[in-house]
């Protein structure tokens, strides 16, 4: 089981909740985001683009580790992990 925490901006796509619990095995971040997409395709559209890449100004963490500095979408997701999706501090 893992938990995917989402920012308030994406709450509209998960019935106003702040997180999604995924029961099936998700060995990698790619698997976990695919599981999110099955439950909330609108949320996944905001996190990943049509190519299946995490958007430039979105950060995804496995527990406290930013996947950009790990193995990207191949970053392992241990059972009982929390994946956190956040907007980057960039902006204009």
């Amino acid at each position: 089981m893992i938990t995917i925490e989402l920012p308030t901006a994406l709450g509209a796509f998960v019935n106003g909740k702040s997180h999604v619990v995924v029961d099936e095995p998700c060995p990698t971040v790619r698997d976990a985001l695919a599981a999110l997409g099955k439950r909330a395709p609108g949320a996944l559209d905001r996190v990943m683009d049509e190519r299946g890449e995490v958007r430039q100004h979105v950060n995804v963490f496995v527990n406290d580790q930013n996947i950009r500095f790990a193995d990207g979408l191949r970053t392992p997701v241990p059972d009982r992990s929390t994946i956190t999706v956040l907007a980057a501090i960039s902006g204009g």
Binding site: A9, A12, R46, E50
Partner: protein, 373 residues
């Protein structure tokens, strides 16, 4: 500028749609166009590079292409002048997965021909054309352009590789012209199956070959529906006219302080009259001599004259972007433009005199009009 909670358009007048880097504003005026009521910002914090109003087939549908810096872009619509906007769950303008492309933003929304009242087009970055046949509910890419053999050689301008101009031929359902920065003008004569570059005579100052088949940085193309074969083009250096649907182009930079600029709009009733806002060079990109001047030709580019009454003529280092100059369809015609410094100007006498409609807006990137009847 007053910012009412809701601007409820009456049954006549003009609706101004103003897209900015930080949201959209809707403004309404009666036919005098002297006093404006404003509503906004809609989509606070999101950029809105494209807006349109579609009043065909009994609709009163306003479109806004919104882009979050973080979460991507969608095309929203409103059937009640912005009181309520659609909020698509899925990204409704999207590239096929196997294209290897991802939407950056929508640059243009264009209603189709009057004979096809449910057809609309979107121009996007990276350069592609999307078509809707259900009044904007769903969108599909135009495959002939998506898979164009020259695509690998298209290069982006400073604003990105954007398809920003869409001109359907009102008399021929198979013909359409589009423009891409920096790939140039392309035209289809077979309903979008094939597209050929139409840039003969348009120079590319930034390439070793100044007159290539394609690769020009075209900033805007306009035409008048009553004379569709005649086109006017504002280039990245260069002003041009074509009398043959873009088969060839003639330089018409006669008497302008600079032939560089972005914005260009057509008079609603006169196929000889066009408005532009020249800018000083691609390095500076501000109004020459710090004077904010709209230039108008009334003879199809044989000469241009500055329209300055009511516009600042000193200290005005302004920039007007490619979709931020527009005319309405009233008589006399109204002309409007927004600046990157957040000013919005209007004229209700065809550009003879101007007044400031708004100041302090976020940077203005598009201005569109709809005439309410």
């Amino acid at each position: 500028m007053a910012r009412a909670k809701s601007t409820a358009p009456r049954d006549s007048g003009v609706l101004l749609l103003v897209g900015t880097m930080k949201g959209a504003f809707l403004l309404w005026s009666d036919e005098k166009r002297k006093k404006w009521r404003a509503d906004g910002p809609h989509f606070r914090g999101e950029s809105v590079y494209a807006m349109a109003h579609d009043n065909r087939a009994g609709r009163h549908r306003t479109f806004a292409a919104t882009r979050s810096f973080y979460w991507g872009g969608v095309l929203r619509s409103s059937d009640d002048y912005g009181r309520n906007w659609s909020s698509p769950e899925r990204q409704n303008v999207r590239f096929p997965t196997d294209s290897g492309l991802a939407l950056v933003q929508i640059w243009q929304v264009t209603p189709g021909r009057p004979s096809e009242p449910d057809v609309l087009y979107c121009g996007v970055e990276p350069a592609a054309l999307f078509e809707s046949r259900d009044a904007g509910e769903s969108w599909e890419p135009v495959e002939g352009l998506l898979n164009h053999e020259q695509r690998p050689q298209w290069q982006p301008g400073a604003g990105g590789l954007c398809l920003h101009t869409i001109i359907p031929d009102p008399q021929n359902a198979k013909r359409m012209l589009i423009a891409i920065s920096a790939a140039g003008v392309y035209r289809t004569d077979d309903g979008g199956k094939t597209w050929k570059p139409r840039n003969v005579g348009v120079r590319a100052e930034f390439l070793p070959d100044k007159y290539p088949e394609f690769g020009q940085c075209v900033h805007k193309v306009v035409h008048h529906p009553a004379r569709p074969e005649r086109l006017f083009l504002q280039n990245h250096w260069g002003l041009y006219r074509s009398e043959n649907w873009g088969d060839s182009w003639t330089d018409i930079a006669n008497g302008v302080p600079s032939d560089f600029g972005f914005a260009m709009t057509m008079h609603p009733k006169d196929a000889d009259t066009v408005y532009i806002v020249p800018l000083e060079s691609d390095q500076f990109r501000c109004t020459p001599e710090a004077k904010l001047r709209v230039y108008k030709t009334s003879n199809a580019g044989a000469s241009w004259e500055p329209m300055t009454d009511g516009l600042p003529q000193s200290g005005a280092y302004e920039t007007v972007l490619r979709d931020a100059l527009v005319s309405d369809s009233l008589d006399p015609a109204g002309v409007y433009f927004g600046t990157r410094s957040g000013k919005l100007f209007g004229s209700s006498d065809e550009g003879e005199s101007w007044h400031e409609i708004a100041d302090g807006l976020p940077p203005v990137v598009c201005v569109k009009t709809a005439t309410l009847t």
